[in-house]
Amino acid sequence: METQTNFSIDELLTVTAARALAGKNVVFAGIGLPTLAVSLAQETTSPNIEVIYESGVCGAHPSALPATIADSVLITGSEAVLNLAALFGYVLQGERIDVGFLGAAQIDKFGNLNSSVIGDWHNPKKRLPGSGGAHEVLANARETFVIMRRHTKRSFVTECDFITSASPDRAIAEGARSNAKGVTRVFTQFGVLARENVGEELILTGIHAGVDVAEVIAETGWDLKVSPNLEILPVPTQAELELLRNEIDPNGMYLRP
């Protein structure tokens, strides 16, 4: 894309995700781009965001970018540290999270996620880390944002090899009571896939300037539908880029060129 000259894909993804956090208050962040997106949102559209990490940290104010979700810099000067029974039981299952950030090896059109295995679980081609807390985030957060830096057929699949974290669609079908909407946004190098409610498919609602819709469809394992109101996503403003480059990730720890 011609815009490449002005900002990187990582910056584009981070700014797009940050803008989607407008009006949100309690956000469960992962390490890397989600953390950057939350920081950017806090300093722009959403000063009330309380950022929460799976390790138990609430209201983190790190002096440096965290290397893990349990980094010592997240604890120092934070507003609260909860044990895991409280974090998972009261905060996550207690339905206190507005938006949870997740990644995955595979995602399907309803936002079911696989982070356990490639191939058969009993004899996997590749053993992945597993659920961690992803299963509980998707099941309990009001909505879940997924960031996938590489939008390809290998990760956007018709059927996950294994469903580690189930969409509320599947959970409710099995008898769950759920107030979660599941995956409502997927941010990729091409643009944004979105759905508003349980039962809907993830469809292409926005593309970054210069992206070819045909390429997005070709790189998606399922028959990706395109929104009739497909928008060209606004590019990052100079102010947003300066915050990211000078304040939030000055050393380019996560924002690769």
Binding site: N25, V26, S39, Q42, E43, P47, N48, I49, E50, I52, V57, C58, G59, A60, H61, P62, S63, A64, L65, D71, S72, V73, I75, T76, G77, S78, E79, A80, V81, L82, A86, G89, Y90, V91, Q93, G94, E95, R96, E247, I248, D249, P250
Partner: protein
């Protein structure tokens, strides 16, 4: 790297009258917690002043503040596991309501202490029920049909499947607790007896936390493990010194044991309890006026000594 712009962040600090008016309503289920320590009495008095009726009051240890709210005509149902004036005598109004239906029978839902803890645990975790090993052989399930059983899906050592009692979740419309301090965002710090305050707050749709003092962000963030309730679970923070009197707040003032003993007499007659309310609750606009009525002798008697914690290091990499 994070400079969350505090300037635009919304403070949760409110006045007691505004907080009670906003989150309490007649007919509401209200939890008022604090296990002997840090009982939010001042908030109970404001509920009496504002004249809310027909409350379902949930309180593990129903003591003086409950007797006062009953005398104030606020409560129609009480959910509790202890109705006593701990080691100091008795609660006249509760006994009249239960023993003599005077003026009207109190709907009393009785549990054990852990039964109450588990109701909040289920509520905080949005579970339909919580299992516990209590109640077998007791008469409590006979008089409380909410106490039920489920069967474990795992075989016991004999290969059979045991039954276990469960209690239902409680999700109060509002939970009110008291603590030593908070920041303006609603991060609540408490020490000494922390009881079941965190669970009661997480179980609630809204939570009012009264504190002895609102402190700066620096104080709270110097010790994040001291925060027992994070900001996102709190609806309103109210600064109310002496807000737990006649109970105590560790490190701030001691329990007014003399008043607990006096209460047996005060609550012994309907007239004397109403007179007490006239002077101390209806006769005061707010808790500052209540505190102003307390004698200097009383305040001196409740003073506490100094026993400071030793600092620990939260330092991270350089």
């Amino acid at each position: 790297m994070s400079n969350q712009s505090e300037s635009n962040r919304t403070s949760k600090v409110m006045s007691m009258s505004d907080a009670i008016a906003k989150y309490v309503f007649s007919g509401a289920t209200v939890a008022i917690e604090g296990f002997t320590h840090a009982i939010p009495t001042a908030a109970g008095h404001e509920i009496i002043r504002q004249g809310f009726k027909d409350l379902t009051l949930v309180r593990q240890t129903a003591d003086i503040v409950v007797d006062q709210m009953l005398a104030g005509g606020c409560i129609s149902t009480l959910v509790s596991s202890f109705v006593g004036n701990s080691s100091a005598g008795s609660l006249g109004e509760i006994r009249r309501r239960i023993e003599d239906s005077d003026p009207v029978k109190l709907n009393f839902v009785e549990y054990s202490h852990y039964g109450m803890v588990c109701r909040y645990l289920a509520g905080a975790q949005k579970l339909p029920f919580y299992p516990l090993k209590s109640f077998f052989g007791s008469d409590l399930p006979k008089i409380n049909p909410e106490i039920r059983k489920v069967t474990s899906p795992y075989p016991n050592s004999d290969g059979g499947f045991d039954e276990i009692y469960v209690v239902p979740a409680i999700n109060p419309d509002v939970t009110i607790v008291h603590a030593q301090r908070a920041d303006q965002w609603g991060n609540i710090q408490m020490w000494g007896l922390t009881g079941l305050q965190a669970e009661a707050v997480f179980a609630a749709k809204n939570a009012i936390v009264t504190v002895e003092e609102i402190v700066s962000d620096e104080v709270v963030r110097s010790d994040p493990n001291r925060t027992i309730i994070p900001a996102h679970a709190v609806s309103a923070v109210v600064e109310v010194p002496f807000g737990a009197h006649p109970s105590f707040t560790q490190g701030y003032y001691d329990r007014d044991n003399a008043f607990y003993r006096e209460w047996t007499g005060i609550s012994g007659e309907k007239e004397s309890i109403q007179n007490w309310l006239k002077t101390w609750v209806y006769g005061t606009k707010n808790h500052a006026e209540y505190v102003a009525l307390m004698s200097e002798e009383t305040k001196q008697r409740l003073e506490v000594g100094e026993a400071m914690s030793l600092p620990i290091n939260y330092g991270s990499r350089l």
